[in-house]
Symmetry: D5
Subunit: 93 residues, 10 copies
């Protein structure tokens, strides 16, 4: 099942630069795993914000939660999840 | 450039059934053209609502407006457009 | 997978009473089918409103959409869907 | 009387890991008591968030307040309470 | 149990004056019954609006729903219900 | 004149327990004075929240402000004030 | 006591022009009475909208309600009332 | 003084096509006058919506109101006005 | 031109009392200058909040910004500015 | 393509004055580069707030993101991006 996930990251502006760098690298590494496993199908940045839309394909919401909460930046995230149903136009591609 | 477009359709509940049917068929036909031309890359239903997320790939917002406003149901739509920037993780697919 | 669905019904105050009665009876009959099939697990009224929370258990969001949109009052509904993940405390019951 | 309670937990991202662990364990233990006493009838996670829906069955709002405010994470919670009325479809199960 | 109920009445501006008058009289008569039965304990107008706060004392949300939905203006109402818990200061009166 | 006042208290979760205890006791003592003076006519807890509805009867908004801002927890409060007009049904009690 | 009242007028776009003209003239005449009686102390337009801020000085919210609801456009209005307290800087004028 | 004005047009979907055409032509003609007089400095469409941002340069809010309310579509508009102050970076162009 | 300015002050509850006192005195002194210069025409407290409505009369939004941002409490303020247009009823006073 | 960007800066009120000064100077210098390169076409202050509207002209949202996130105050910003489509009236200037 697909889910569209909107993520806003609220990193404190005064965070220690080294800690920030380490967090960003860990986040990127974990994101890469999720992309390569096929759980993340697409990801886009929202311009001007530390935010993204991510398209997940996972068995259900329980798996989705375990994957999102495995992200190193999760404690700083505000996450909105939209479950997605199939649209009949998709068969016309 | 990609845009994520959220569309809520506010069709009057008391609409004449034949008119509704004609509108839905025209909407489907126009949607099919947009998919086959490559302007619409993906489309999903929001379950429980007459609503969808559509992923467009078009040159700019002016073309996007002309395509969305060409949809037969456009006068009934409430449309929110999110411009999308490339996310570095996309290169890891 | 479970979904918590909040439904607000916006029936026009000036609706013809016979039509209203027919709609309510058809809605009840369809609701009864969904309960007896196991798709609806629980349903509660929000006091003071023509509104309810319904707990669905269905394979995915596509099935959920087909069931909700099969309700006779669907054209009058404003529907919010919350996908649900398992909570570890549930194992302690 | 049943209440549907939506809880968002706003734990500071920079909390000391040991304190966090102790809080989570105490929260789980108290939750288990509330489930085993029958006050909590169901609990679900909202995927991607540190949040849940909890279905309480308690005599009234005063008891509900005393139970929710007994949770160790209560000082970090944003809580919304929905009182629930019986829906006639429930008799059809 | 007490509930604080906020009611906004959305009567169409173009309603027939006689029908409006009949509705207002029926509403007043039903409100008088609810006050005299003790279900409504207090009622206040929100100045400048066709709206009120009503303090109900009823056994539970199911009874509350049956009383509010018995009001002749109910089809025109937008209703928000706040369940109320006892406050320890009340014992100091 | 009566005012319905909704108060949400945003006490920091990490506040020193002794300071919290002292603040709560001072708040209770001041609340007791306001009840006994007749300025506070009723007070209810919102279940699950550190929040209340308070019904004040005071000469005007200037006196109301001086009383609310005299509460020891005032610096932590988010306060919404609803002025109240008399409702004709009140005469039917 | 002073109140700041924000009024948005939702006149149907398709209203009969003669009826609109009559309503506007009656509204102006009633507004003139309220200004000349001293109940309305100031009134400003919100540019671009059919809306205004009005500063009332009246004994209490009950009188305020009777005055606002005496306006011919009242059935079309969405009204927000802010009670006002004296500010110590006012004594420095 | 400059103002940024956001306009959403809520034209009924079921409007008579000839009336719609006449309104749109009149709106375009009046917009052209406002551009050529220098009152409208820039105008942009919000893609996917019947909406625009317009940059006005006018003496004050009273003139702004008279210009916006002179637009033939004004009865159908929802208008938000942002007053603008000079930004020191403008001198660096 | 007149502007109605709504100001909410978000002073940290834990601020040092001497610093708070100094800030409040400096704020009062600056407010007094703005009143005596005629820039502030009226000011009201919102009861129960550290908030006010202020009526400014200034040449334009650029001057308005320089005056508001000269207030000692400005870094703690959340400010909403409403530009005001003349209302024809004002001539009837 | 043009984008209208609304930026609110949430600088902590208690920031060290020297750090604040350095940040503001760096922000101004970077802003000047973006204006002189033609990426920023116009910029306006929102009076009373540490906020602005900026009109960008850039190839796409990916470039826009890289420019906004290059601003020294970006970690303190809340940014809303509106993509803009051409309006036919623009040809009438």
């Amino acid at each position: 099942m697909e889910f569209l996930v909107q993520i806003e990251v609220r990193l404190p502006a005064e965070i220690d630069p080294q800690r920030k760098q380490a967090l960003l690298e860990a986040e990127f590494a974990r994101g890469k795993e999720l992309i390569q496993s096929g759980a993340i199908r697409r990801i886009w940045r929202l311009p001007g914000r530390f935010a993204n839309f991510t398209l997940y394909e996972v068995p259900d919401a329980t798996v989705l939660h375990s994957l999102i909460s495995s992200l190193p930046l999760w404690p700083y995230m505000d996450v909105t999840v939209h479950p997605l149903a199939q649209h009949p136009l998709e068969k016309e591609r």
